[in-house]
């Protein structure tokens, strides 16, 4: 499958969103709203649940399915308070020793007046810094679109996994074509050049695992994800917290170091 086809699949109508994974992977999800600073951003869903009995903190960028949901969720593009809500839940996870699981699906952090006024850049930066030294295991799973800094703000993790048709990029192919090449028609070429598919990113050492989609069979995908998550989180829970953070830094430290 070409990069542009993967991109279309990642954005396709009816593709499972963050809430679908939360419902299918965990038991007893309790949603926690708000950043205790400004408000509650519906583009980010955060809370506590159990994974095979183990309490975990779950955070998802949520796009919504129908028009009404999409509008409510701002199409999965978070404002600063969304990232701050996520960080608050991560700090609570650290306090109570719960692993963190993030689901990423966003075209990017929202670009608007309010987002800038409330410090979109600062909110993302804070997450990058704080996640790097979080003393509990963190796994981020890209389930659809991974748009730039707004995706990375939930992906400073011990391991990053991607569904086989998910994408992750520094800029959308549309943005790349129009900004860099001044030719909006070159989206297909841009998608190729940016190396945004799960397979490419695994080759580049940016993701650890590509998760097969079994032709969209969510039960099958979640069955495999659950087993992998349990194994990885149990393994990482046994690692000394300082060592875990040091390994996370080393994971990012080597990218571009040669």
């Amino acid at each position: 499958m070409s990069a542009i086809d993967r991109l279309a699949a990642a954005r396709a109508k009816g593709r499972p969103t963050g809430m679908d994974y939360i419902d299918n992977l965990f038991e007893g999800f309790m949603e926690m709203h708000g950043d205790r600073r400004f408000g509650d951003d519906p583009a980010v869903v955060a809370g506590i649940a159990r994974l095979e009995g183990m309490p975990v903190t779950v955070i998802a960028l949520e796009k919504g399915h129908n028009t009404k949901e999409k509008v409510k969720r701002n199409f999965g593009s978070a404002h600063p308070e969304g990232y701050r809500k996520a960080l608050r839940q991560m700090h609570l996870a650290e306090k109570f020793g719960r692993p963190v699981i993030c689901f990423v699906d966003t075209a990017g952090a929202y670009c608007g007046i309010a987002a800038e006024e409330r410090g979109q850049g600062e909110a993302i930066a804070e997450n990058l810094m704080e996640m790097m030294t979080l003393r509990v295991p963190v796994v981020s799973i890209f389930i659809g679109e991974g748009g730039s800094g707004g995706a990375l703000a939930l992906a400073v993790a011990d391991e990053v996994w991607m569904l086989e048709n998910a994408v992750y990029s520094v800029i959308s192919p549309e943005g790349c074509a129009s900004i860099l090449w001044k030719d909006p028609g070159k989206v297909k070429e841009a998608a190729e050049c940016l190396k945004l598919t799960a397979e490419d990113l695994k080759t580049l050492g940016v993701v650890e695992r590509v998760v097969p989609e079994y032709d969209g069979d969510l039960q099958k995908i979640c069955g495999e994800l659950r087993a992998d998550l349990v194994e990885t989180l149990r393994k990482n829970r046994r690692v000394d917290p300082a060592e875990l953070a040091a390994r996370r830094y080393a994971r990012f430290r080597r990218i571009g170091a040669d």
Binding site: I113, G119, G121, M129, R253
Partner: protein, 289 residues
Amino acid sequence: MLRKDLFRRPKNEPEDYGRYTAKAHPDIPGEMCVLCPSCKEILFTGVLEDNRYVCPKCGHHFRMNARQRIDMIADEGTFEERDGAMHSKNRIGFPHYEEKLKQARLSSREREGVVCGTAKIGGYDCALFVMDSGFMMGSMGTVVGEKITRLFEYATQNSLPVVGFIVSGGARMQEGILSLMQMAKTSGAVKLHSDAGNLFVAVLTDPTTGGVTASFGMEADVILAEPNALIGFAGPRVIEQTIRQKLPAGFQRAEFLLEKGFVDSLSERSGQKEQITQLLSLHAKGDLT
């Protein structure tokens, strides 16, 4: 009348760049004029240079290159460059990236978009990094990320404060995801430097946007900003396209960020060195009497 490299006085011209120079430089008169984009006053370059590239009439801060900034801020003869030889390669095979890099090297006379090193400022030792808008708009690729990361690690090992002059259009698209990863990498280095009790002062200059704002640009203990500098996550044009309306005057300018609580203080060049020296003095270690 306005030469593009008017404000560039390279100190470290690499030996092999001469052969790329297509044509001999035309005769440059001793005094030239520039138009202030803000108040439209015609200014002599000599006057501007003596005034730290600030318009004497209206206070407009012109862009400066990295070497000029280092001259302005570091004590004379104290700057020692680190990792100056690092240069980018086309890691993901992006079309025409090599040519872009070559052009950037020629026009900026730097090997990459940031100059890093150690220096004394007002007598205080520090690690100093200065980004250069003349090199692909100060965009952050793997080399910019790596150089800044190394500088923070060196500063952590040696308990040095870091002073950073920031100018950037954001992540460098031509390095794809690898440039995005530099946001996380540099943030990690800043965090470890911070956790060890060291000071980081950032000076945001025009323009500071995108992935650099959303990483080390907004992670300093003290964030200073030059007057009227554009500072934001999304660029104004992207926002206008998204919301389909014009942005209000002054939006995303340094004064706006100050009002919204994201900048500690404005930093006019006339008092900048004194301001930074004072900060270094207030945070100096082992001198608490």
